[in-house]
Assembly symmetry: C2
Homo-oligomer: 277 residues x 2
């Protein structure tokens, strides 16, 4: 479990709002790791150890584990347990994008917030209230609801507009009837940073989980300019740019370097806002 205040304290302490995305595709990890008993866990462990100093959150994308069946699930279990045991102050997000009718969402909530004991899970809003609220029943845990995603397909439905209100804005407004800034965050893609200004009018205090910086082309400066609030309010994710920066035996060291580069930029932006010295 992790409170809003604990998260903010960690941001101030590490001078960072970096989330490292553990999209640990077994086809892309350094080949020497394939000799390990659990190559993906060995990879994640090394990446975590190399970046924990500057990362405030880890976000395994569940697809990269699920595609390996039972073995992948085991790598995921070990990864979360390793983070929680060695870095209990770090926020863990299951990037699962789940959402189903109430009795089924309850089962997903159990899977990720209880069995695997993640602090948070990403949830898709299409099915509405009863698909989201079961995830909010866990004290100290978080729902990270998809609002405006970073991909091209976001334009297909998320900008659908009724009486001047776009669908993603409707998601932001409507979901505030179900949760609040202490148990709900929103996904807002860095590739649409200029829309953050409007989004902050609807959700001024909420944390936003921002993917799409780096490989997908989003700008950290823009994200901070339009999205940062007095409690930072941002968790910016980078996956490929960190974890696959190098594919040799130096992969962990290079991942650490890339993470520290981002942290240095983040420190400057936090200082500019007066959040850190």
């Amino acid at each position: 479990m992790m409170t809003y205040d604990q998260l903010f304290e960690q941001i101030k302490k590490k001078k960072s709002f970096l989330c490292v995305g553990l999209d640990s595709d077994i086809a892309k990890i350094p080949s020497h790791l394939l000799e390990e008993e659990d190559p993906v866990f060995a990879f994640n462990k090394a990446i975590v150890d190399a970046t924990a100093e500057v990362a405030i959150a880890y976000k395994p994308n569940i697809a990269f584990y699920e595609c390996r069946g039972v073995e992948g699930w085991r790598s995921l279990e070990k990864t979360v347990a390793y983070i929680k045991e060695n870095y209990p102050e770090i926020f863990t997000i299951a990037d699962a994008k789940r959402g189903d009718i109430g009795n089924t969402s309850q089962m997903y909530a159990k899977a990720f917030l209880e069995t695997l004991d993640f602090d948070a899970i990403t949830v898709a809003p299409y099915m509405g209230e009863d698909s989201v609220t079961p995830f909010l029943q866990y004290e100290g845990k978080w729902v990270v609801l998809l609002a405006l995603t970073s991909n091209k397909g976001a334009f297909d439905f998320q900008f659908f507009e009724q009486e001047g209100e776009r669908l993603y804005e409707r998601v932001l407004r409507k979901s505030q009837e179900w949760g609040n800034d202490r148990n709900m965050m929103y996904v807002v893609g860095a590739t649409k940073a200029d829309m953050l200004e409007g989004i902050r009018k609807i959700v001024p205090e909420h944390f936003l989980l921002v993917p799409g910086v780096g490989a997908q082309g989003g700008s950290l400066e823009e994200v901070a300019k339009y999205g940062m609030n007095n409690h930072c309010g941002l968790i910016v994710n980078s996956s490929r740019g960190i974890i696959f920066a190098d594919k040799t035996e130096n992969f962990a060291r290079r991942a650490g370097e890339e993470a520290r580069k981002l942290q240095a930029d983040m420190e400057r932006l936090l200082a500019g806002r007066g959040i850190v010295d």
Copy 2:
């Protein structure tokens, strides 16, 4: 793999368009099965054997497996393998409601359509085109896209309306740019059967996967009245009403009886339409 024509042939042969939902919650299966090595697989195997004569599809809801971690995943693997080996003519649907950015949806597609070898997977549309199309790259496999779901929360966003077009209608129209009636179906809840008439104007030939008959309160008559086309075009799911009809050692026999009752109703509706004698 399963073609449109093979599915229709099976419907005519079995005089049924019944899908049995394997929402096999370990807390709800008969207690004597808990002594088995894999209680959920033992349950599914018995349910499948008792209903295969009248079921044209099985649909495990992935949440009920995922919540049990590695063990749950193993029960799921064994269940799909058992169906494919013993009843290869029956359509298998992973009720997973996945959807993520392109490179991630590719991984989910691999998990369900390749590793587990399901014939179809349910997909959530919120993230648009590149979140859906990776699932369409598998020859002979199907995407079942959420359109209008059976739950109460469906009213939160799916009825959002732009210039007279509702979001679920927009999903039906837009997604036809990505797939066709030979590789795409839609989820339309039985609890909103009166909207099927309008839906059929947009997707006259597509198969519709219809949950919500039974426990959720939808009517089979209404679904057939407004949703059936000349190739039937319907796969109606029942989960709890069949699989948990009885919780004693007679559970499988009772499941078979409940399935045959639904099949008898379906046969009458198919005959009324002239699809079977």
